[in-house]
């Protein structure tokens, strides 16, 4: 029961291997993809993506993008992705600041989405054990 999994960011390919299951932070909630999953394309929210393979679990922090899930394989195209062990406070601060900036620049009808983006980002930091330093607004 293995399927092909690929995680790519615009700058490089982070992972390409056989996995048992992938937990994906979908826009409408987490979902787990395994072999034989019906074809789905979902957008991502900032969160932790976990892959389970014979070698154990591995997690990545992703900040949006989308995933293409099919019966034979799953491809995640993340806007930004890093192994959770590589995310340090400075990187995370950057991401949070970026989310805050997007919220400030968000058009009238996009404010809700932008606020959710910030919250997801902060929640993701909580999972990795990083504190979001909230800028003074």
């Amino acid at each position: 029961m293995a399927m092909q999994f690929e995680l790519v960011s615009p700058e490089r390919r982070l992972a390409s291997r056989e996995v048992r299951a992938v937990r994906i932070p979908g826009a409408d909630g987490d979902l787990t993809a395994m072999e034989g999953h019906s074809p789905v394309i979902t957008s991502l929210r900032p969160g932790i993506l976990t892959i389970e393979s014979d070698g154990g679990e591995e997690s990545f922090a992703v900040t949006g993008g989308f995933a293409e899930i099919g019966p034979e394989g799953t491809t995640v195209l993340a806007e930004r992705a890093l192994s959770t062990t590589d995310v340090d406070q400075a990187t995370f601060d950057d991401w949070v600041a970026d989310a805050h900036r997007q919220r400030q620049e968000a058009p009238e009808d996009g404010v809700d989405a932008a606020v959710k983006l910030v919250e997801d980002m902060v929640a993701m930091g909580g999972h990795i054990g990083l504190d979001a330093r909230q800028p003074n607004l």
Partner: protein
């Protein structure tokens, strides 16, 4: 006849020029490798992204609810040309070719009565276009301080372009860059990014479920598509620039070598002439005694 001292100085100066061009060529070769690697590693994302976006766009394309980034504004009156060039010169025809391509298109569009706006990325293209099309400039992106072009730079440019599109400043956007074919061949290319063009033969492939919804995802993907296209173009440009600089500097180094050879022959000839002259003077002086 130039005197010996002058010739010697020229030879020295050409020699030091050759040292510089040789060094620049080697630096460009090293940077080219890195630029090619960067372009290579960005390819999987761009390919998957295009495939998904194309099939989505083909599926949604004809409906009335299609986003404006896909369907367009319904007019093609105002064109935005995003001209991407290098920040530095000494790379052969690289900057000039891109600027020329953009200038031709700008003139053609103006001939058709369209309005043209130009956004420049990179100093060199701006300098070249300023003389003829300076009054069409709307903005400039400076990448002088950027050592390695990242996705962040591309999405910054994309955000600016999209903001202008939302404000109704233009109807059609085209990017100009140089596609890297090989070290000796870089092709100036124009690519329309807004509205998104569904490639020929893209089928709807509608066997996917979409979460949240087809339209929702498409609305999310299209702006990213602009950033992805710009990022890909920046990387191609980066490789092309180094390739062009490498071959330009290779030529320069070779020319300097030829010049040194010629000058050395001339120098030796002059020196021999001086010696012969002195001998004749001595001999004729001795004969006169």
């Amino acid at each position: 006849m130039p005197n010996l001292k002058d010739l010697k100085n020229r030879i020295e100066s050409v020699k030091s020029t050759r040292k510089i061009t040789k060094a620049m060529q080697m630096v460009a070769a090293a940077k080219l490798r890195r630029a090619q690697d960067a372009a290579e590693s960005a390819r999987p994302y761009a390919e998957r992204f295009d495939a998904v976006l194309s099939s989505l766009a083909a599926a949604v394309g004809d409906s009335d609810s299609a986003p404006r980034l896909l369907a367009g504004t319904g007019s093609d009156k105002t064109h935005l040309l995003v001209v991407m060039t290098a920040e530095r010169g000494l790379c052969g025809g690289f900057n000039g070719n891109i600027a020329k391509r953009a200038r031709q298109d700008a003139d053609r569009l103006m001939g058709e009565g369209k309005t043209v706006k130009i956004l420049t990325v990179g100093k060199k293209g701006r300098e070249t276009l300023r003389r003829t099309h300076g009054d069409h400039f709307v903005a400039h992106v400076d990448l002088t301080d950027v050592k390695r072009v990242g996705y962040g730079d591309a999405s910054g440019i994309a955000a600016d372009v999209l903001k202008r599109f939302d404000a109704g400043e233009f109807d059609v956007a085209t990017i100009y860059f140089s596609r890297f074919e090989s070290v000796i061949s870089q092709v100036p290319t124009a690519q329309q990014i807004i509205p998104f063009q569904v490639p020929e033969g893209a089928d709807a492939g509608a066997l996917y479920d979409y979460e949240p919804s087809e339209e929702g995802i498409l609305a999310d993907l299209l702006p990213r598509g602009v950033a992805t296209a710009i990022f890909a173009a920046l990387l191609e440009n980066g490789a092309s620039e180094q390739g062009a600089r490498m071959s330009a500097m290779d030529n320069a180094t070779r020319n300097a070598g030829d010049m040194i050879d010629d000058l050395t022959v001339e120098y030796n000839r002059s020196r021999q002439a001086v010696i012969t002259n002195e001998l004749i003077e001595i001999i004729s002086g001795a004969e006169a005694l």
